[in-house]
């Protein structure tokens, strides 16, 4: 009995020492492992692919002598990471600037009170349609929603030219569309609801089911399946097609509905985080990111982003804003449609 009591005391003492050690690590940051405030820095959360965004961030470091600490999102987990993290960190933000590779989640974050307004001088020549009226975000360097076609399987004369071709009996079971709950595909369906209404969007989704369109895990999967020849064609983003073409895959790109309502353009967006820890550096970074030079670099990169301003140089053979008949959309209305679109997608496509 005495031994047991001694043991219990000994265990408690040991536990108290352990907890005290753990707490000491928390309470004495300088003794531990934090040196965050030593040099000027800016914390960027970006949904832009690391391979494209990292060189831009490194250039900023070189130009301004400000250390950039980045958190990159992972496409495979559908931007769960950064946006949820920004929401969860709202009361004690760690991030200074959110660089999103699309627009819907940026608007959603604005509505959740995560963002702060900042009108960057670099955004003055960006069209009003691509900027928030209250200054919470600004758009730049867009991607387009395009058709990716396997050139070995489909002759040029037979290339589809419209999203409506997804419903052609000739392509039954031969096409792919990424899961529309996530990423730019969800933006695409929300845009459809905003521009064409609920009934037309429901008919579109039902058409995908009826014509046995493959719903796959992401836009890069659409590209890869088409490139392998598993499917004839699919719907994806310009950057996916361009990267595939650079890797020598047998794929071609078509801008859909150029003779109809137009192709959806989805801009990158940048926004300042409310109560960010390094606001001065954050504003400097936003100014840099919205510059014409960065837009030109993104156009020249493997992701082949489409500049939203005229006069920004674009490599030969790549798309410029003037080459695309863009689908006219109100991004705020699109964000309003997102929840309705998600409900339709779940009830029709993902049963």
């Amino acid at each position: 009995m005495i031994i047991m009591k001694k043991n219990t005391r000994s265990y408690r003492r040991r536990g108290i020492i352990l907890v005290a050690l753990a707490l000491s690590l928390l309470l004495f940051p300088q003794v531990g492992f934090s040196s965050l405030k030593k040099s000027p820095q800016v914390v960027i959360y970006t949904a832009m692919d690391q391979i494209f965004s990292k060189p831009i961030l490194e250039d900023f470091e070189r130009l301004h002598g400000i250390q950039v600490k980045a958190v990159y999102d992972v496409e495979a987990v559908k931007t769960t990471g950064i946006v949820n993290r920004l929401i969860a960190e709202k009361n004690y933000p760690q991030c200074d600037v959110f660089w999103n590779n699309e627009i819907m989640r940026t608007i959603m974050l604005k509505r959740k009170g995560v963002l702060a307004p900042y009108r960057s001088p670099s955004a003055q020549d960006i069209a009003l349609d691509f900027k928030d009226k209250q200054g919470y975000w600004a758009g730049f360097a867009a991607r387009a929603r395009v058709l990716v076609i396997n050139t070995d399987r489909v002759r040029k004369k037979m290339y589809p030219s419209s999203l409506q071709d997804l419903f052609s009996p000739a392509w039954r079971g031969q096409t792919a569309f990424a899961n529309p709950l996530f990423g730019t595909t969800s933006t695409h369906i929300a845009a459809m609801v905003a521009t064409q209404g609920v009934d037309a969007s429901q008919a579109f989704l039902q058409g995908l089911v009826n014509n046995q369109t493959r719903i796959v895990d992401g836009n890069s999967v659409v590209r890869d399946m088409v490139a392998r020849g598993d499917l004839a064609w699919g719907v994806t983003d310009t950057d996916d097609v361009h990267v595939g073409q650079l890797q020598g895959k047998p794929i071609a790109m078509v801008l859909p509905d150029q003779h109809g309502q137009g192709t959806l353009l989805i801009p990158n967006t940048v926004a300042l985080i409310k109560n960010s820890p390094n606001p001065q550096e954050a504003r400097l970074f936003i100014d840099y990111l919205l510059s014409r030079e960065v837009e030109a670099r993104l156009a020249a990169s493997e992701s082949a982003q489409i500049p939203l301003r005229t006069g920004v140089p674009v490599p030969e053979g790549q798309l410029s804003f003037a080459d695309v008949k863009a689908l006219p959309v109100d991004f705020e209305a699109m964000a309003d449609s997102l929840e309705k679109a998600n409900g339709m997608i779940e009830s029709i496509l993902l049963r």
Binding site: I3, K6, N7, T8, Y11, R12, R14, G15, L18, V19, L25, L26, L27, F28, P29, G32, F33, S34, L36, V43, I44, D49, Q50, I51, V68, A70, V71, Y72, D73, V74, E75, A76, V77, K78, T80, G81, V83, N84, R85, I87, A88, E89, N91, Y92, Q94, L181, F182, S186, R214, D217, S220, D224, R228, D230, V243, Q247, N342, E346, L350, R351
Partner: protein, 515 residues
Amino acid sequence: MILRTISRSCHQVQASPLVLLALLIGVVPPFIMVSQSFYLEGNFSLHHYIQLFSEQRTWALLGRSLALALGTTVFSLPVGLILAVCCVSQHFPGKKLATALILVPLFIPSHIQAMAWTALLCSQGLLSQAPLSVSMFILILAYSPLVFLAAHAGLSARDRGMEEAGALLACPWQVWKKITLPLLGPHLCFALSLVFLLSFFNYGVPATVGLSSFPVEILARFSAYYDEGGAVALAMPIVALVLVLLVSQKQYRGKKSFFTLSGQMKKKSLSERKSLLTGLLIWGSIAFTVALPLGTLFYQSLPLHTLSLALQHASKELGTSFLVAVLSASVAVILAFLLASSSQNFSQRGRDLLQTMMLLPLAFPATVMGVGLIHLWNRPWTQALYSSIFILVVVCLARFLPFAFLILEASLAQVSPSMLEAASLCNPSRINKLLRIELLLNKKALLVSWLVVFIFAMGELGATLLVIPPGRETLSLKIYSLMHYGNGPLVAALALVLSGVNLLVSFILLSLVQR
């Protein structure tokens, strides 16, 4: 009487600072999330639960995930058991190596196996025709080694004299049914519970194959609707299911352990014989479950210099992953050992309560845990931890401490208290007793639990991506980032590097266990 017992149990649990630390790490974060699921715009509400569970689709997805987990569990049993029986009772060329190689799928994260198998099966068109069957097939291959491991441990540790005595009076089938299987029961029961849980919660395989499952739906609540409350509400039936499962397997096992201190055969079996056919079966299954997926990854990673490129490209990320995994495994083992050791002094109810509490984190998906950890640790006075890689260690502890605790608790339960008391009479030093008796007797369990946490930590993705400090990256995150970019050879090479590190560390540690 009941109240007094509960009060005593609670007192025991609350009394220990170690228990409080474990609560803080693994239980408080998901419970912050659970409490949020009962609020809507600041007011108490059951809105999330009513809305989600009134939808037929929710139940359909739950049913599909249950079918996936149940099917994986049911089919893993014969696969693992047959292989274990063959390895223990038969002699064939390369038996020792084959026994180790069968376990290889456990050391490769399941999403990497899914990558390899989808590349193999895609051209057959099977993915679109039968995503449920394909997911189940991949999960069986990934998790049946758990059944093999448990059955092999049980068969190796059993007293064969009992079987041989039975064989004098009954046919082999009767001996198997009446003696061997009941002896294996606790081992199999624990392994099958783990297989069920791991396959139910698996996100990577159904998502890669294109199967709408319950974990995918929980993720959708987060990433399509950004609805934390809804995601947690969806997870609640799983929490209940896990608790029922863990409590019932505990009831079934009673005081019988699934972990044996001495893994060596007590006696050579009279029926042990050479069999070329068994050798073919075992080596054939290894070729199918290990060589084929790893060979596919190797083929995808060609040319060979891609491997060195991968190492150059991701050496920093590999270093971070390795550091986090080593720290997590070491802290988890120390904490789990101290907790399990303390729990030996608790009353039965106290121990049950502690076990249930320790297992609770297993019931929550990684994303729920990740967001809960942000809510708990992202505060002004905890920035030192939150902004360093130590938050990744906290993530791994929160998610994988239960595994270390389960193994060590089962092992410590087999150390006779009278032995420890006798030792205390000779030398009352607690340190001496710990170093010279408890640690030495549980050496095998300590190494195995370290390895389990290490492997899980190396592959952790779901919660890591939510709390990764700015400027840092782990190898798993790197692999997923590159997957989107479509760099097939580099992704395959990095997957091979990750698997290689796991295999190397496992080989070193298992060699130590065998000494």
